[in-house]
């Protein structure tokens, strides 16, 4: 009953400025859905449309069975946590949390029960009498979440709730939000972020949005799926490049032919590689892009089939792993190797690019279908 369905949703600011295009999306009961994408791709706009704060769009939005397009924000049974918390500065923590319930004429003892309960869950009981300006960033964040909890919403909406916190607190609050989701399994959550780590850590489902030309051509949604689906099976170059850090290496190549084990491609730098995808739609000699993630390039002793040999330009050590910057060939590469990697600038090194970890994109940047039986 807490699912959210968007069908054929389009939104523009002014006549010639489309922001959201052709969004069809189902968020299931109790699902934790993350809207991810670069700045300006319309994540907040889409979230605010679900909240009812943005109107004047085409298409339909349903919460549960009910179409909410004409329903006031307060009657949608959603609660929202804003990036800057938006606590009422002139009300105590208690009143901030109680405000919405008072507006809804909830009985006094019920208000008190719910506020106390939320305060207990979020461990802010000692702060109930404070004013917001006397709270730290993390405490304000909890109050903002508390204000959402007391309303017992069907849907929690978060717009970059952690981006004003420092790095350590962000990781901590991230796990608290995951706990919150476990404590309220029936409620769905939509969480907006541009931080892929947050998205990977929290999401049941990631909705990756893109902007600009891609949005006009393919609609706002670049790909929807479980975090690891997006990581392992990106549908296009944008998704492949957006997820993962450092970003996936892209190498220009030409399609040689389809073989039993997959598509055979020749890199500009001369190597031949096989990628387990179905390239039968491609003409021989078509230009394609090969993608391989830095963490999948494994150092090997000697050049062999399915390896790339390059000159080491620089190495960055992080203790647990190292980034190896490689030159030579047609385009620079980055490899992420465990430990210190035993390499230094000036070395010549070979890296295996395991077939199962390679991705192939056609001339339009669309991933070729994988043959996962291989």
């Amino acid at each position: 009953m807490t699912s959210i369905t968007l069908s054929g949703v389009n939104k523009s600011f002014g006549a010639n400025f489309p922001v959201i295009r052709d969004v069809d999306l189902v968020i299931d009961d109790g699902e934790f859905c993350v809207f991810l994408g670069p700045s300006g791709c319309g994540k907040s706009t889409l979230l605010r449309m679900v909240a009812g704060l943005e109107t004047a769009y085409t298409g339909e939005i349903r919460i549960g069975e009910r179409a909410v397009d004409k329903v006031e924000p307060a009657d949608r049974q959603v609660a929202m946590v804003f990036q800057n918390y938006a606590l009422y500065p002139h009300m105590s923590v208690y009143d901030n949390m109680a405000f919405g319930l008072r507006q809804a004429k909830t009985p006094k003892d019920e208000i008190e029960r719910r506020v106390k309960e939320a305060a207990r869950i979020l461990q802010i009981e000692p702060l109930l009498d404070r004013m917001p300006k006397a709270l730290s960033g993390g405490q304000r964040q909890r109050v903002a979440i508390g204000r959402a909890i007391v309303r017992q919403p069907k849907v929690f909406l978060f717009d970059e709730p952690l981006s004003n916190l420092d790095a350590a607190l962000r990781v901590h609050m991230r796990s608290e939000i995951a706990t919150l989701h476990r404590n309220f399994p029936a409620a769905s959550m939509i969480y907006v972020t541009h931080d892929q780590t947050e998205a990977m850590a929290l999401a049941d489902k990631i909705v990756l949005l893109h902007a600009g030309k891609d949005m006009l051509k393919h609609g706002s949604i670049a790909q929807v799926g479980r975090p690891l689906d997006l990581y392992h099976q990106p549908r296009n170059l944008f998704v492949a490049g957006f997820l993962g850090s450092p970003t996936m290496n892209f190498l220009e190549a030409t399609f040689v032919g389809q073989e039993e084990t997959g598509a055979r491609v020749a890199l500009k730098s001369g190597e031949d590689l096989t990628v387990p995808v179905d390239g039968s739609t491609l003409a021989s000699g078509a230009s394609v892009t090969l993608g391989v993630r830095p963490e999948h390039l494994a150092p090997v002793a000697a050049a062999a089939t399915q390896t790339l040999t390059r000159q080491v330009r620089a190495v960055e050590h992080f203790g647990e792993y190292s980034f190896v910057y490689l030159d030579g060939g047609a385009a620079p590469l980055i490899a992420k190797v465990p430990g210190d990697g035993g390499l230094k600038a000036g070395d010549s090194a070979s890296f295996a690019a395991p077939a199962s970890c390679c991705h192939l994109f056609d001339g339009d940047g669309i991933a070729l279908p994988r043959r996962d039986s291989l």
Partner: protein, 279 residues
């Protein structure tokens, strides 16, 4: 070198010295006024202007208070109180609409109202006098409320609109999600959050209206309907040569403002700064 000399010597010395001179310039007349109220009429002629009074004698105050002074005071408190309340309420509501609501004529109407600030009061005197007379309000203290509110609204709306534009839009949205309509958003969020702006507007207008003379002079005529600035005028006729008595009237008239300013000063300054700093 030159700049460090400025920083080390000139500034720490010059600023306090100039401050003290300014303090003297502004408090001298005030001291003279208060001192003289304790002198008798005789004394004020014979003694030097800056001589201390011979005794701390409240005779002038007693004489003034024995007259209709309290009636003037009551009228002033009533007229200013009602006017300022209306000004604050109306300008806050208008400012909320201008700052927060999207409607077609928003900018045009705001411009029109702000343009009202440049209309000189004096050209409105005759029409307002005629209107007041036709409405049967002539020579009633309530005749003053309309002109007072009308002439104060432009600047008040201007100040409060700027103030409310600074309030984050997320607060409004949070309130909408909490179930507030426009009125609840205004009264429960924007009005209380505009506190410093509202007190600026209230105190500024209270001072202006407390001292307002020309409308009061034109629209009222009897002692029982007139406000304090006219008390000074009327007493001047009555006590024509009793300078200490006239100054006692002036002192009593400014006393409420001085007290109000002493308590509200911090808020006024804060309110006037808020617009410029928070942006």
């Amino acid at each position: 070198m030159a700049s460090s000399t400025t920083a080390r010597i000139v500034r720490p010395v010059a600023v306090p010295v100039l401050g003290l001179i300014w303090l003297a310039v502004t408090t001298m007349p005030f001291l003279f006024m208060v001192m003289t109220t304790f002198k008798t009429q005789q004394e004020s002629y014979s003694s030097s202007v800056w001589a201390l009074p011979e005794a701390l004698d409240f005779v002038n105050y007693r004489a003034v208070l024995a007259g209709p002074f309290l009636t003037y005071l009551k009228n002033s408190v009533m007229v200013v109180g009602i006017s300022v309340t209306l000004i604050v309420l109306i300008s806050a509501m208008a400012a909320f609409a201008f700052a927060r609501m999207r409607f077609r004529l928003n900018d045009a109407l705001f411009g029109l109202i702000v343009a009202g600030m440049i209309v000189p009061i004096h050209i409105t005197l005759v029409p307002i006098y005629l209107m007041t007379r036709d409405m049967g309000l002539y020579d009633s203290p309530f005749a003053l409320v309309g002109p007072y509110v009308a002439t104060s609204l432009p600047i008040s709306i201007f100040i409060l609109t700027e103030f409310m534009r600074q309030i984050p839009k997320e607060l409004e949205e949070a309130a909408r999600l909490d179930g507030c309509g426009p009125f609840a958003i205004f009264f429960k969020v924007f009005f209380p959050l505009s506190g410093p702006g509202l007190s600026t507007v209230a105190i500024y207008n209270a001072i202006m209206l407390w001292n307002e003379f020309i409308f009061a002079y034109v629209l009222t005529s009897s002692t029982s309907t007139r406000t304090l600035p006219l008390a000074i005028w009327d007493y001047q006729g009555q006590y024509s040569s009793n300078i200490p008595a006239i100054l006692a009237v002036v002192t009593l008239t400014s006393l409420p403002l001085i007290v109000a300013y002493a308590f509200g000063q911090e808020k006024i300054v804060k309110g006037m700064m808020a617009g410029s700093l928070k942006g």
